[in-house]
């Protein structure tokens, strides 16, 4: 909403996190998306999650493709470097950036057109490689910037604003992520901050490929009665499998759940994901069972949300290809160039 100017001054009493930043320090430019857009709620959740995680904003690199969702990295973490890449190809740029400097935190923001249509291939391959990142899909089932065409996640039979029905089978990005080997997979709803913020926190602490498929209604083109990605539809059909809380390694765990089954999942970095299971039979550590569970509920028209899968022994691309601990972009000629003596040996071997 560009017409609402943000005050430049911070209120002196604003709470600071452990690294000395207020929540406002994680904000970015004013959003230019439509008032009420689900994507703005996701941006707010990202801001909240980063503040709570005590991440220094400039240590995050934000990358996106093209589309409404891909514009949002300008609206949070204003002191971070961001890269608006090309349509559907953010995953490869993020991969390259991650290879260059493994010390930063990588946040990929994309949409359903960007990730499920033009960029389906890159979406799949970045997951199989285990790139350490948080990949958020802001999924509204529609092309907003080009004014309302269907995307590949639109449900079969759902209607566009102009009344046209979608005849194609939808792509379920969470199910695809399960198949492609992502090691942290969540699904949520832009309107459910209580679920979304801890999901993002867990994803950012996860040392591997983390994907969150966030259903995010498009109020301009896909929030009508024929849509399965509208606020009303998702609220009515949301089937949360668990409630999540996230505790970084250093945080004392004081929260106690009063009811239901509670399990703690310790991630590789020592952080803890505490799940209150809403569905007793749901096990987020079982990839195969998770696939069946998500599909069974989808067949009944239900959108399963929550932490769908996590592998606490995940490893990332750098571990797989055995790169040095130091960021590659900091290596100097002394460490990279074998020098003239070695070259003379190579010359000798070529004679």
């Amino acid at each position: 909403m560009t017409y609402l100017a943000k005050p430049k001054l911070h209120h002196p009493t604003l709470a600071k996190n452990r690294v000395g930043y207020t929540r406002r320090d994680y904000e970015g430019k004013i959003s230019t998306l439509c008032a009420g857009c689900g994507h703005d709620s996701i941006s707010a959740a990202i801001i909240q999650a980063c503040w709570e995680l005590d991440i220094e904003p400039h240590r995050v690199a934000k990358l996106s493709g093209i589309g409404c969702s891909s514009k949002t990295p300008d609206y949070f973490l204003g002191n971070s470097h961001g890269f608006n890449t090309v349509h559907g190809r953010m995953p490869s740029v993020l991969t390259g950036a991650n290879l260059a400097n493994r010390e930063l935190i990588y946040l990929g923001v994309s949409g359903d057109g960007d990730s499920a249509s033009i960029g389906l291939g890159q979406f799949a391959h970045v997951l199989r490689r285990g790139v350490n990142m948080t990949y958020i899909v802001e999924n509204n089932g529609v092309y907003g910037l080009t004014k309302g065409q269907f995307s590949a996640t639109a449900d079969k039979g759902s209607k566009s604003k102009r009344g046209l029905a979608n005849n194609d089978t939808p792509i379920d990005l969470a199910s695809l992520a399960l198949v492609m080997g992502a090691t942290y997979i969540g699904r949520s709803f832009s309107g459910d901050k209580a679920q979304l913020v801890p999901l993002i926190r867990g994803a950012m602490a996860h040392p591997g490929a983390a994907v969150i498929d966030v259903v995010s209604p498009c109020i301009a083109f896909n929030n009508h009665s024929g849509s399965t990605k509208s606020y009303d539809y998702v609220r009515e059909h949301n089937e949360a499998v668990n409630r999540l809380d996230f505790f970084p390694q250093r945080e004392e765990i004081t929260t106690e759940y009063g009811e239901g089954e509670v399990i703690d999942i310790r991630q590789h970095d020592g952080s803890i994901l505490r799940l209150r299971k809403l569905h007793a039979e749901y096990d987020p550590g079982d990839r195969v069972r998770a696939m069946a569970y998500v599909q069974e509920h989808a067949a009944r028209g239900e959108v399963v949300t929550g932490l769908l899968y996590v592998d606490n022994d995940a490893c990332d691309l750098h571990q797989q290809i055995n790169t040095v601990e130091q960021a590659l972009n900091t290596l100097r000629a002394a460490e990279l160039c074998p020098g003239s003596a070695a070259l003379e040996k190579i010359n000798a071997s070529l004679r």
């Binding site: 390259g96 950036a97 260059a100 055995n322 020098g339 190579i346």
Partner: protein, 611 residues
């Protein structure tokens, strides 16, 4: 009958079936001659196939060090019945045809003006070996043995090469030595001597024998590349494969055994260039290797990298295209596609290596240029240089030279209050400062976009901001002229009205042609272009001659087009001569074309006038 007689100066061509192990046997002949101190230039002409299609291997033996293709064949080793007729046709009058006469040859399918040498290879093999695989492999070695005898190649050199190749596999070594002896003994007892001979010389010196793709990969290792992302495509795949091989030895942290670089085989070329762009944005030196179709796929990203000003190096090993077949043949046909790759007003820096030495040198330099100019740099190799082993100067490296990391604003500079605008031209050379992600908590962060930005990287759809930015990019391209390698002039012995202009793999054939023409009294100045954008020296050179023959290995005369478009060259001053059938251009072709055209322009050879 006429008989070609030559010492250390002839062309021998092998016609084989691919996948039969012939390439390594034929290479053995080339290497053995090289070990005798006589320069050779081998070329593998191969199909898009694993097994069963025709393949050729041409070895130029050249005491004078002419490493281009000469044209013509003095001796054909015809081992492929499928291509028999065409192979027989190719032999020069008075030349030699070596073949397997285990089955009788119909007289109608030979020629009376060449010397036919039959040897019962299959029969000899079948008598000596029972295993079909051995029969195939050793058949190749048996003909190598026979050729060694006919051409006076020292058997001891071949045996030394075997000893290197089969170190630790003594059984194989013995079997190969034995097969070689079978061929040699048969030839000694049954075959008549021929007129082609190899004599030991000392003409190889300290030169090395290497292919351009290996050299380019090594250039990337020395040039400090830390990220390589690639997708397999002939003829470029061996660049990445060589990079992997080198870095597994040369880029290992001695303490931990971990790699000081990352190599990713991507799912396609879109992803490989995407990774290179991501790594370049984040301050790593990154490259990809590809060929024409890969460039087509990468074009959108190339545009983004140009406008967003991201360093990237693309090694384009050019080939014929598209699809399969011609792609295993050489061409210089991506000049325009690369110079203007992508949408919008883009222009890219191209470098043209002439041989493996320059593949090494220019690949390393490309990594410096990419960071200095913050833009994609193309190393325009081709199949002829990339995939064939070539004798060249030994690689050289100056240890005192630091990498040029370009204009990078540091944490301390930002802290000191330096004004930072990502697209702000503070030095007037069109090159702006960048920051690496994560540099400073509150300063220097920016959002990278293709266009739609002002000098401070803020979102702007203002036309004036766009125009200003585009004009700065033009200034940057002008700056590039002073940074890219200069053209190389080879001046004629006498003042010349005519000149030739050429680039890349045409170089060795051109130098041979110029010598031949000079012997006939036709003198031309020659300029080898090494980069685009074109320096003023190039336009000046063209203006100083009444006609300039531009030699290119593509149909459309793409470099000529670029010269007219970009260097303000008068079109009528250029005569474009093209060679684009997929085989490397030959010295004879160049000599003939120039001699004909010069004659048509009414020029009398200088020696006639002198006489």
């Amino acid at each position: 009958m006429q008989k070609i007689e030559a010492v250390n100066d002839f062309v021998i061509k092998f016609a084989n079936i691919n996948g039969s192990g012939s390439a390594s046997a034929n290479e053995l002949v080339a290497r053995a001659i090289l070990r005798m101190g006589v320069p050779v230039s081998p070329r593998n002409i191969f199909p898009s196939n694993i097994q069963g299609l025709p393949t050729w291997f041409e070895v130029r033996v050249t005491e004078r060090g002419y490493l281009g293709r000469r044209g013509g064949v003095d001796m054909m080793v015809a081992m492929n019945p499928q291509t028999w007729d065409q192979d027989v046709r190719e032999v020069e009058t008075g030349g030699y045809l070596f073949y397997d006469n285990s089955r009788p040859l119909p007289r109608s399918r030979s020629r009376d003006d060449i010397h036919v040498i039959g040897m019962p290879l299959t029969e000899l093999c079948n008598n000596a070996y029972s295993d079909p695989r051995q029969r195939q492999l050793f058949k190749n070695i048996i003909y190598v043995g026979a050729l060694a005898h006919l051409l006076d190649i020292e058997a001891s050199e071949i045996e030394k090469l075997f000893a290197q190749q089969f170190k630790g596999k003594e059984k194989l070594l013995d079997a190969n030595v034995q097969a070689l002896a079978v061929g040699r003994d048969y030839a000694r007892e049954h075959l008549k001597p021929i007129g082609l001979k190899v004599e030991r010389r000392d003409k190889v010196g300290d030169h090395i024998f290497v292919d351009g793709n290996t050299a380019a990969a090594l250039g990337c290792v020395y040039g400090g590349a830390t990220v390589c992302a690639w997708y397999p495509i002939t003829p470029s795949s061996s660049v990445a494969e060589a990079f992997i091989r080198f870095t597994q030895k040369l880029r290992v942290d001695p303490a931990t055994g971990q790699q000081r670089c990352a190599v990713v085989q991507a799912e396609d070329e879109l992803a490989s260039i995407g990774m290179v762009v991501g790594a370049g944005w984040n301050g790593s030196r990154a490259f990809t290797a590809t060929s024409g179709p890969g460039i087509s796929l990468m074009s959108e990203f190339i545009g983004l990298a140009f406008f967003a000003e991201i360093p990237a190096v693309l090694i384009n090993v050019q080939r014929g295209g598209p699809s399969t077949g011609m792609p295993t043949r050489t061409q210089q046909s991506d000049i325009l596609a690369c110079a203007y790759a992508s949408h919008g007003d883009t222009r890219h820096v191209l470098l043209f290596p002439e041989d493996p030495y320059e593949c090494f040198e220019l690949s390393a330099q490309a990594l410096d240029l990419a960071e200095r100019l913050q833009t994609p740099i193309f190393v325009m190799s081709d199949l002829d240089i990339g995939m064939n082993q070539r004798l060249c100067r030994p690689f050289a490296w100056d240890d005192s030279v630091e990498y040029d990391r370009g204009k990078v604003m540091t944490h301390d500079a930002l802290d000191a209050g330096t004004d930072f605008g990502r697209y702000l031209d503070v030095d007037g050379d069109g090159i702006t400062y960048r920051t690496y992600p994560g540099t400073h908590p509150t300063k220097g962060g920016y959002f990278t976009r293709g266009t739609t930005k002002n000098a401070y990287a803020g979102y702007s759809e203002a036309g004036t901001d766009y125009v200003e930015n585009m004009q700065r990019l033009r200034r940057k391209f002008e700056t590039a002229k002073s940074l890219v390698p200069l053209p190389v002039l080879t001046a004629a012995k006498y003042p010349a009205r005519f000149a030739v202009l050429f680039y890349g793999s045409t170089s060795p054939a051109m130098h041979e042609a110029l010598d031949t023409l000079a012997e006939d009294g036709i003198y031309l100045n020659a300029l080898r272009v090494r980069a685009f954008p074109f320096q003023n020296e190039i336009a000046d050179f063209i203006a100083a001659h009444s006609k300039v023959f531009v030699f290119e290995q593509n149909m459309d005369g793409q470099l000529s087009t670029l010269l007219i478009n970009e260097a303000g060259v008068e079109p009528h001053s250029l005569v474009t001569v093209v060679h684009y059938d997929g085989t490397p251009i030959t010295a004879r072709f160049i000599t003939q074309e120039i001699a004909n055209r010069v004659a048509r322009l009414n020029v009398h050879p200088l020696k006639d006038r002198v006489a």
